[in-house]
C-alpha cells in the first residue's frame, strides 16, 4: 500500500535524486523527509521551499491568471542541480508540496517531472 514513506522511496529512485521531502508550505514544515537536503538541513530547506511556493502562489501573477489555473510545479535549476517542487492536491484541506533535489549531471529534468507528477497523483488517488 503506497504511503508517504513509499512515495519518498520512489522519489529517491528517480535518476539523479539525492534528497526528497513533503513540505507543508503554509508553515514551512517538512512533514516527511529522506536523503540529503541542501546544507544538510531539511527544516531550513522546507522553510525556503515554503517561501518559494508562497511567492509563486500568492505574490506573483502567474498563478490564477485564468479561473482554475492552479500551480502544478516549480522548477529551479542551478549550476549543480535541479530542484523540483510538485503540488500534492488532496480533497481534504492541506497545503503540501513534494520536493525532490536532483544532481544535475545524472538527473533528467523531463523524466523527473513526469515521475513526480505520477507519484504525487498516486499518493492521494487510485
Amino acid at each position: 500500500m503506497p504511503g508517504v514513506d513509499h512515495c519518498l522511496q520512489e522519489a529517491m529512485a528517480i535518476p539523479g535524486a539525492v534528497g526528497a521531502s513533503i513540505v507543508d508550505y503554509t508553515t514551512g514544515f517538512p512533514v516527511a523527509t529522506t536523503g540529503a537536503a541542501p546544507n544538510s538541513d531539511h527544516e531550513a530547506a522546507a522553510t525556503g521551499t515554503a517561501d518559494v511556493v508562497q511567492a509563486a502562489n500568492s505574490r506573483s501573477l502567474y498563478v490564477s491568471a485564468l479561473p482554475h489555473d492552479l500551480l502544478e510545479d516549480l522548477i529551479i535549476t542551478t549550476a549543480g542541480g535541479y530542484h523540483l517542487l510538485r503540488m500534492v492536491r488532496t480533497d481534504f484541506d492541506s497545503r503540501l508540496v513534494l520536493y525532490v533535489w536532483l544532481d544535475r549531471a545524472q538527473g533528467n529534468l523531463a523524466v523527473a517531472r513526469r515521475r513526480m507528477q505520477k507519484l504525487a497523483d498516486e499518493l492521494v488517488a487510485y
Partner: protein, 344 residues
C-alpha cells in the same frame, strides 16, 4: 490494562510530553484550559492529537466531501472498540494509505499547536489510554514541540495580537485601502464570518486547519480588514448581540421614549403603562383580557430582553465556571455531531 491517572498539575504541556516520551510511555496527555485538547502517545511516539479548536481527521474528511458522513460513521462503529478506524478506511478502499497518513499528520500538527502552545495549563497523563483511530503515523514528540514553538513565532511575525485567535471574527465594513487582494482561504473566511463565529467555529465549518485559519486571520488583521477585539465593545457585553454588517442591517431597535414622539391619542394609553426609559417587563397579560372600546388599550407583549441565538448568558445567570476539562466534553460533542451528520 488498567488506567493510571497522574494528578492534574499546572505545567507547560510540552514539558510533560517530553517527559512521558522519554519514558517511552503509552497513554494520553489531557490538557485543560482554553482551547485545551489531548495528545496520544504510543511507546513514546505521538500517534494523534486533538483539540476543539482544530478539525479532527473525521471533520477534515467529511467537511471536504472526501468521505460521506455515513462512510466515516460506519468506520467509527466498526473500528472504535478495536482502535483501527484508520486501517479500516484504507482496507475498505475509501482512502489511500497516503491520504490517510497525510490527513493524520496534518491533524496532529494542527491540534498540537492548540494543545501545546500554552505556557501553563492543567495537565494530566492517563497511562494506557489509546485512540480509536489507531496508530497510523508515529511522530517524534521533540519535532512536534519544536514545530509548535516555530508556529507561535510565525504568527507573531505576521501580526502580534493573540486575541485574533479566539475572538469572534468581525470584518470591517469599509476596508482601509483602495484595493484588497485576498487568497482563496481568506475569501472563504470573510464570506462565512458573521460577527458571531470564532476562528475555531470557522475552521470546523469549512473543514480547514485551525492553524491555517488563524494564520490567514492574522494576515487580514494586519491588512486592517478585521475589527480588533478591543475596539468592539465600548461597554461590557453581558449578552453577545449579533453585529450589524454594513449599513443596511441595523440590529439595534430604536428606543422609543414617550416625550420624543408626538402623542397620538390612540396609543397614548398603552405608552403610559410603560414607564420610560427602562421599562420593567409588563405582567403577563392574556390577549383576550385586552380591553377594547373607548380607551383602546392595545396588548403589548412584555418587553423582555430576548436572548439572541448564540448569545452567551450574563455571568450572574451562567453562574458556574466551565469545567476544567471542557476540551474532552467538546470532543465528545464533535463526535456526536459527526454521528448526527451520518444520519442525514
Amino acid at each position: 490494562m488498567g488506567l493510571t491517572v497522574t494528578a492534574s498539575k499546572t505545567v507547560p504541556p510540552g514539558r510533560l510530553l517530553t517527559q512521558v516520551a522519554g519514558e517511552r510511555q503509552t497513554g494520553v496527555l489531557v490538557v485543560g484550559g482554553h482551547p485545551g485538547g489531548a495528545v496520544y502517545v504510543l511507546e513514546g511516539r505521538v500517534i494523534y492529537a486533538e483539540s476543539p479548536a482544530a478539525p479532527g481527521v473525521g471533520e477534515l474528511l467529511t467537511a471536504s466531501g472526501r468521505l460521506a458522513g455515513r462512510t466515516w460513521q460506519n468506520a467509527l462503529d466498526l473500528g472504535t472498540s478495536t482502535a483501527r478506524v484508520g486501517r479500516l478506511l484504507v482496507e475498505q478502499g475509501h482512502l489511500t494509505q497516503g491520504e490517510l497518513e497525510l490527513c493524520v499528520l496534518g491533524a496532529i500538527y494542527d491540534a498540537a499547536y492548540f494543545v501545546l502552545s500554552s505556557a501553563a495549563a492543567p495537565v494530566e497523563f492517563l497511562t494506557g489510554a489509546t485512540h480509536w483511530l489507531g496508530p497510523v503515523v508515529h511522530v517524534d514528540p521533540a519535532a512536534i514541540n519544536r514545530e509548535v514553538g516555530r508556529r507561535v513565532g510565525l504568527l507573531d511575525e505576521i501580526f502580534p495580537d493573540r486575541r485574533i485567535d479566539t475572538a469572534a471574527v468581525a470584518p470591517v465594513t469599509r476596508p482601509p485601502r483602495e484595493r484588497v487582494t485576498l487568497t482563496s482561504l481568506q475569501w472563504e473566511l470573510l464570506v462565512h464570518a458573521d460577527g458571531q463565529r470564532t476562528p475555531a467555529d470557522l475552521a470546523l465549518l469549512l473543514g480547514r486547519a485551525g492553524y491555517a485559519t488563524i494564520q490567514e486571520l492574522r494576515r487580514m488583521a494586519a491588512m486592517g480588514l478585521l475589527e480588533l477585539p478591543e475596539a468592539r465593545s465600548e461597554t461590557p457585553e453581558f449578552v453577545r448581540l449579533p453585529r450589524a454588517r454594513g449599513t443596511a442591517v441595523d440590529v439595534e431597535r430604536p428606543v422609543v421614549r414617550p416625550q420624543e414622539t408626538p402623542a397620538v391619542p390612540v396609543v397614548a394609553g398603552a405608552r403610559a403603562s410603560v414607564p420610560a426609559p427602562d421599562p420593567p417587563p409588563d405582567p403577563p397579560r392574556h390577549p383576550l383580557a385586552e380591553e377594547s372600546g373607548a380607551n383602546q388599550l392595545v396588548y403589548r407583549p412584555p418587553r423582555l430582553a430576548r436572548r439572541k441565538p448564540g448569545a452567551k448568558l450574563p455571568k450572574e445567570v451562567a453562574g458556574e465556571p466551565p469545567p476544567v476539562h471542557q476540551g474532552t466534553d467538546e470532543v465528545l460533542l464533535k463526535r456526536i455531531r459527526t454521528a448526527l451528520r451520518a444520519l442525514r
